[in-house]
């Protein structure tokens, strides 16, 4: 089992190296400083989202509403500042909205026991619709003067390293610390591995699940803030894109089994690098949107199939039958 998981990480990392080298040699315009920066920037936001997704997937859940938390609370910040609020007030409001949203998700999944897939599909739709219908005046919320200085979160750099990369790195460290060093992390793995056993052992499974979704929503919001700061606007229609699939792709390709209890931050980083390189290379090759989708679809399918072979769930072996 351990061998299989290692080899999946290894394989994905090797593919990343090969692809990167191939693009660098054969693809004109790939190995330029500008492109590297663009690649890393795109990758950073995707990677942050991947961390949020990883947190819930390890706990045997899934969060399809991540893109809604990426678009709506940060969009609200831009909108409120545009309408004359101060930045701290706007940020606090967005934070409140995000936490409330995470609580609703968590409560529905942990206490009302609605499957995570349906819950987050529905709440994501609701939040996106709520934002577009009631909060925002235009589809793209524009930057305004009150936000001056905040764009550094997306466009600044420390020691030549672009800010989004730094934010991604810090988030990685925090999530990794939470997962591997704290009791909460141990609970998340326990719930993902065997929710019934975790419950019977006395793990407070429901509060932990709620916490997972609140953290995921906060991470989604952070990703949105970084994105808005890098492009000086929030295109709220991004919710209608297929971005959520890229996020799932990152997590599953990286080797975090959808059956839960497996993988960690390293897997997200590897998955992010691979997907980032793939998307960037395809964009430079000027592939059509549909061809890109086709390739992403094939890659995701391959990853999910590999996942079910390498990390089989034990349900069928659990049945011993009546003698």
């Amino acid at each position: 089992m351990k061998l299989g998981r290692l080899s999946q990480q290894g394989i994905v990392f090797a593919i990343f190296i090969a692809m990167f080298a191939g693009f660098a040699i054969f693809l004109h315009g790939f190995a330029t400083t500008d492109n590297m920066l663009a690649l890393l920037q795109n990758v950073a936001v995707l990677g942050i989202l991947g961390l949020g997704m990883a947190l819930v997937v390890i706990g045997r859940g899934v969060d399809l509403s991540l893109i809604a938390t990426l678009a709506v609370p940060p969009g609200l910040v831009l909108q409120m500042v545009q309408d004359g609020s101060s930045l701290p007030v706007a940020l606090a409001t967005a934070l409140l909205l995000t936490v409330a949203f995470g609580l609703v998700n968590g409560w529905l999944i942990a206490y009302a026991e609605v499957p995570a897939l349906f819950t987050t599909l529905a709440t994501g739709l609701f939040l996106a619709g709520f934002g577009q219908a009631l909060l925002f005046k235009l589809d793209v919320v524009q930057w305004s003067a009150g936000l001056d200085g905040f764009e550094k979160l997306g466009q600044g750099a420390v020691l030549g390293i672009p800010m989004p990369i730094i934010v991604f790195a810090i988030t990685c460290v925090i999530v990794a610390g939470l997962l591997t060093r704290t009791r909460i992390g141990a609970y998340v793995y326990a719930i993902g591995d065997n929710p019934n056993a975790a419950r019977a052992t006395g793990v407070p499974t429901r509060p932990v699940i709620v916490l997972e979704y609140v953290l995921a929503a906060l991470i989604g919001c952070l990703a949105g803030l970084v994105m808005a700061a890098s492009v000086n606007s929030m295109p709220t229609r991004i919710y209608n894109s297929t971005w959520i699939y890229d996020v799932i792709l990152v997590v599953v390709l990286g080797g975090i089994g959808l059956s839960g209890g497996r993988g960690g931050v390293v897997n997200v980083v590897i998955g992010t690098l691979l997907i980032g390189t793939l998307l960037n290379g395809m964009t430079i090759m000027d592939m059509s949107y549909s061809a890109q989708n086709l390739i992403k679809g094939v890659v995701l399918l391959a990853a999910v199939i590999a996942d079910s072979f390498l990390n089989p769930r034990n349900e069928e072996t659990a049945q011993q039958g009546d003698i």
Binding site: M1, K2, T180, R181, T182, R183, I184, G185, A186, Y187, Y189, A190, D193, N194, N196, A197, A198, R199, A200, T201, G202, V203, P204, T205, R206, G261, R262, N314, T317, A318, Q320, G321, D322, I323
Partner: protein
């Protein structure tokens, strides 16, 4: 034409090393009603599943109508004229009676009206009072069973096998069912049925076969049997089997009353169950499957969900309690060690040490926000040596261990929580012989240390060997209590079956 419609010779089925049935000979005569009786795990279900093609023999032969035949699937069995009516019935609840009857035999195009008319005529020919247009899901248990039987007859079954046919029926429905079975017999159908209710077997069957521990004990005409003889045949064990052979000579006195359960209800499994558990002794809880033992103690420990909690009182150390989830019960010192360790026992991707450490984290979270690798390692090593878990070290994953060692890890995870009421549910199920002895010693040690210990078991010798006090459960409540000294296998079995 041979006398026996169905015959098994030296039928053996081995599950993971242990034989479920062992060289069993069985003969079903043409047009007879044949009852199969025996304890849980005696091999009744396996034997009937072999006949119905659900399970395939490891060795041995099967003859249908004098010709050797080995049905590999239920469909092949059906072509041989053998049909089985399962405990959990296999009808599609959202379809009508008629649709269910003809399921799998539809023509390419079916006129609904045609099906209804055919079904109506067919049901009338059987004298079954079921409306063909009724939706099956809305029918009662007895009517569902009629539909199942009708389907078997429609498939021209020569042999119909029933697994616990009367378990879900009311007394009137039972009587009607008996008439149906006798009517089927008149039509030349041969019948095999499994029953825990001995009176039924005596009343309905022409012949009775008793199985014990996977072996054939006796087959005789029902007229030559009475209750006492059946019970005797069911439990009369070879006492040279020393593992369980030794009887308790002294029993521990009862200490403080730790747990009292009063009038606990959980439809349909637990019915007004009342019992008490005392410190410093082992209370064995015996009963057949479906007697509500596991459910009762799962409610006590908060494992069963509150939605199904239907009332009654649980008093722990003199205070009424009601746990909606296991966490507060664990905190209050109750440990429930599950009968199904794969489903709710251990964490398979984690190491032994991590499994045990999680028990510690869940019970004593204070001061443990940051994990300590050293503490986990130490807890793991401690328990591995204390319980003699055999593995390649604390880093080994639980899923790689044998059943006995997995069970020890699950026990260690609970014991590290320092409980004072420990409930073992089938503690030695799927455990190798060496580990059984060790687990039994551990259970005895816990009682000597003054803990209140409950052992739920369907295996009489285990209950007899361990318990200071034996509660017998039947139909959702405790019906008898024996001290270790006065208990005999016959008495206990007599109380456990109606």
């Amino acid at each position: 034409m041979s006398e026996n419609i169905l015959e098994l010779r030296k039928a053996t089925k081995v599950y993971g090393g242990a034989p479920a049935i062992d060289e069993v000979d069985f003969e079903l005569r043409r047009g007879e009603i044949h009852a199969l009786v025996g304890e849980n795990g005696a091999g009744k279900s396996t034997l009937t599943k072999v006949m119905a093609g659900v399970v395939n023999l490891t060795s041995g032969q099967m003859f249908v109508d004098g010709r050797e035949a080995e049905p590999r699937t239920p469909l092949e069995a059906r072509h041989l004229g053998i049909a089985m009516v399962f405990q959990e019935n296999s009808l599609v609840p959202t379809m009508t009676v008629a649709q269910n009857l003809f399921l799998g035999q539809e023509a390419f195009y079916n006129r609904l009206r045609g099906i209804y008319i055919a079904a109506q005529q067919f049901l009338q020919s059987l004298n079954f009072d079921v409306t063909p247009t009724a939706t099956v899901g809305l029918l009662g248990a007895a009517k569902k069973q009629m539909v199942e039987i009708a389907r078997a007859v429609l498939h021209k079954a020569k042999v119909i096998i029933f697994d616990e046919p009367t378990a879900s029926l009311t007394p009137e429905e039972k009587k009607y069912f008996f008439d149906l079975v006798r009517d089927l017999k008149k039509r030349g159908v041969s019948i095999v049925f499994i029953s825990h209710a001995l009176e039924e077997a005596l009343q309905l069957a022409d012949r009775i076969t008793v199985l014990r521990d996977g072996k054939h004990v006796v087959t005789d005409n029902a007229a030559n049997f009475d209750r006492a003889r059946i019970v005797q045949a069911m439990v009369g064990r070879d006492l040279s089997n020393t593992l369980y052979g030794k009887r308790k000579s002294t029993s521990r006195p009862a200490g403080e009353r730790v747990l009292t359960v009063q009038n606990l209800k959980l439809a349909p499994m637990v019915k007004n169950n009342s019992l008490s558990i005392f410190a410093g002794q082992i209370t064995g809880v015996f009963g057949l499957v479906g007697a509500g033992r596991t459910e009762t103690f799962k409610i006590v420990s908060g494992v069963l969900k509150r939605d199904f909690f239907h009332g009654g009182e649980i008093i722990l150390h003199g205070r009424p309690v009601r746990y909606l989830v296991p966490a507060p019960a664990v905190k209050a010192g109750i440990a429930y060690i599950t009968e199904d360790r794969k489903v709710e026992g251990f964490f398979e991707t984690m190491s032994i040490a991590r499994n045990i450490y999680l028990g510690l984290l869940a019970k004593f979270p204070r001061g443990r926000f940051l994990l300590s690798g050293r503490e986990a390692e130490k807890a793991g090593q401690d328990w591995i040596s204390k319980l003699n878990v055999r593995s390649i070290g604390g880093k080994a994953k639980v899923v790689e261990l044998s059943g006995g060692n997995q069970q020890k890890v699950v026990i260690a995870k609970s014991l590290t929580q320092e409980p004072d009421l420990i409930i073992f549910d089938e503690p030695t199920r799927g455990v190798d012989v060496g580990a059984i002895v060790e687990i039994h010693e551990l259970i005895n040690r816990l009682a000597d240390e003054g803990k209140a210990v409950v052992v739920i078991s369907s295996y009489l010798p285990e209950v007899m060997a361990l318990s200071d006090r034996i509660l017998v459960s039947r139909m959702g409540k405790v019906v008898e209590e024996y001290s270790a000294a006065e208990a005999t296998e016959e008495k206990i079995m007599y109380a456990a079956i109606h």
